[in-house]
Amino acid sequence: MSRIDVGYFPGCSGLGTSMEYERSTRAVCRELGIGLREIPDWNCCGSTPAHSTDSALSAALASRVFAQGEKAGIGDMITPCPSCLKNLRVALEHMEDPLFSARVDALTERPLQMRHSIRSVLQILIEDVGPERIKARVRRSLKGLKVVPYYGCLMTRPEKIMRFDDPENPVALDRLLEALGAEVLAFPLKTDCCGGSFAIPARKVTPRLAGRILDMAGEVGADAVVVACPLCQMNLDLRQGQIRAGGVDRVLPVPYFTQLAAYAFGLPEQEAAFKKLVQDIQPAFACMSRRAADIEAEERKTAAAEAEKARLAAERAAKAAEKAAEKAGAKDAAPDGAGKKSAAAKKPREKADADGGEA
């Protein structure tokens, strides 16, 4: 497996509210041969309070992160947090403008020398590692687990800044979860708002918006809502009490995709860190095991039935060939062609039978 080395910006949530994301990300990357080189002495990405006050000050914070990367010779970096990602990308984009860049450089006094890129952990897993290699690493398939992927508002938007996947209907997380063996359900609210930081200025908004997402996830029959953003995770997981008070009664675990990947790779609980979740994921796993057993039984049955059918068909074909050969022998015609033809003629019906059996 080829190794990938890349700079790593954990973001502030990773040290607090999303420790499980941080821990599982490091574990999963290690398993997939991604070497993470943490940016030395990194600082805030310039998120919400900063960029709503002054875009140059916010970009200066981001610029220092990149400058710290340069110190360690790092040009390309990744981050698990979509909000950090957006801020760092926006800063890079704005700094393409020499006037803006000059303002930022005046603040940091450290003009950037290298070319920088910043992507999400999800993006590097999909683009550089790929679902095939992830699938190959799975030791404990998530077969039987019904999940909905929830990307949040920032992972693919604003489209012109993020340049990743479809802005309205992204599929990267779907592909990744499928590779882990899970059953990914169609989820129309993939990029809906979870309430974001409205929990602070307008407390009632967040439970209502998060509730809508949980409600839809329950409606389509999901065992879990899989997320990629610390704030989304908090709003959906931590606030289920408030959401219930608002009338939406759905108890669903909200794991990070990296946690599920860690589980599927067979890593120990301290790396998957499921215990950090508020809503217990174990009932979902129990559901998964039951369903997996059912699916396997069903698969065995279909396989047996198919084998039986194939055997019968082969018998019939052999008989037909014999008959044809007899006839052909009488008429001095070539027997092969006739035999093939009759076998071919039967095929469509066999297929129809098999389809019926599966259904």
Partner: protein, 652 residues
Amino acid sequence: MRIGVFICHCGSNIAGTVDCAGVAQRAAAYPDVVYSTDIMYACAEPGQDAVIAAVKEHGLTGVVVASCTPRMHEPTFRKAVERAGINRYMFEMANIREHVSWIGKDVEANTNKAAELVRMAAAKLRLNRELKPKSFPVTKRVLVIGGGVAGIQAALDAADAGLEVVMVEKQPTIGGKMAKLDKTFPTVDCSSCILGPRMVDVAQHPNITLYAYSELEEVSGYVGNFDVKIRKKATYVNWDKCTGCGLCTEKCPSKKSYDRFNEGVGPTTAILIPFPQAIPKKASIERDYCRLFNQGKCGVCAKVCPTGAIDYAMQDEIVEVKVGGIVAATGYDLVDWTVYGEYGAGRYPDVVTSLQYERMLSASGPTGGHIKRPSDGKEPKDVVFIQCVASRDPSIGRPYCSGFCCMYTAKQAILTKDHIPDSQSYVFYMDIRSPGKGYDEFTRRVQEEYGARYVRGRVSMIYPKGGKLVVRGADTLMGGQVEVEADLVVLAVGGEAAAGSPALAEKLRISYDGYGFFMEGHPKLKPVETNTAGVFLAGACQGLKDIPSSVAQGSAAAAKAIGLLSRNMLDSDPQIAFVSVNRCVGCRKCIEVCPFKAIREIDMRGQPKAEVIETVCQGCGLCNATCPQGAIQLSHFTDNQILAEVEALCRF
């Protein structure tokens, strides 16, 4: 030369910011000027008479009028000087209105500038030569490109006036978009009932030759004498033998072809007659879906055809015709709305376009006039209409208003109530644009009588929930978010120039705008002409418009073509290039640059020389600027004439 100068006041339009008498006074001192005066309205009858009188009285041989833009009144004054007995090209105009009086208020600067423009015009006029047009015969036949309602109207009007008409239609049937509509606004009368008879008229008119399933291949020649090549695409059915019985379409085993006419609402067969009233009512094979072409065996249609019309070996055929005028009526296409992720980008079957909805409403459509959800065939109760889909949206490069969506949405809401009395329609709109006879009343009726709920705001998202579609949008009048659970969502998709419009424009040598719509000669005064003589426009190809406007333009374009071809001979524009053979060295550079192939090489006593084909030259002057010898000159815009204008401005 004896030059007369006339400075027009244009009421106060010019005189308000230019001292006209002062300009006239200064002009009197310019070389060769023998008479100079100011005049209230030069273009009005007394003004023209004054010019004519002055010509006679002072024996003028050239006239300068300083007034508005020559793009407006040059033809007027040319005729006037001709009436006074001077050649029409012994006339120059100075544009002191659009280029002077209307763009600044400084009287001193304006007066000075006006006087200089007159000096330039007079300096050029001194080098003008009398030019005489040549006459050539015209072909009294008109080509109509496109068989939609605008093209049909143009063809019938021209044919009724006695002209021969050749109609070329890209699809296997004429009728265009209107044939797909169920009803029309604001009268809610049946579309095919009013269009059908006109389509039949086209088929039966002795003066009209129809080439359906054909496209324009090439155009050469010039006004009055265009040579046109038409590509008749292979239909794989010999239309001389086909009776339109439809037996082949019943027996065709390939039943999952895309139904172009029905906008894909239901599947159809590979060999088909688009719809029962199709003109011509002939079958054609869609090659992409035909089993014979794709799997190598089938041939059912050939077996069942009672007249033996099926011809799998048919090839495209090129037909050549000569025409005197051309009417382009190529219509529009719906914008590809699947660029909108928020509307599902085509993922949800119960989100349909307005044109698909028309086919559902139509009794002759695939659902037999019953509104059914594509997903489960159930009758919808709550129907949401979203207006301005791909209209007025700069983010996808469609900033213009399509103009007809407000009205057809109102109509569709009415029809929904008629078809399903216990249904409820919701219309998300930006603004209701209904300027037209009876239009605004119509949009009120749908709200007041039919109870359609109009919500002013955009839709941000459509998502499925429990067999329904949740439409989430803003209500900007109430100032809040709204969510409507709909059974069916109809997108009022806007229009864009028909696919291939720019390529056709380039074949016709007409201009088109940034969206591919063809440019009219003048936005106000030449709405159906183009800047290429003999080519006219009708319908939505010039800009989106509804049926009444398209029909009116069809008639207008026909009238222009009739007027043009009512004459037996046409005059060629004498402002063309001419070669001075003494200077020409036969280098062929002019032949290479000429966009119209209007220059050919001739042999003059063993020397190669260039010669201009007078009827083909369009007078662009490219050759003039290219010629290293100055041997080829553009009449009326010769090097010396332009330099005389430059010189009039030089200070050294």
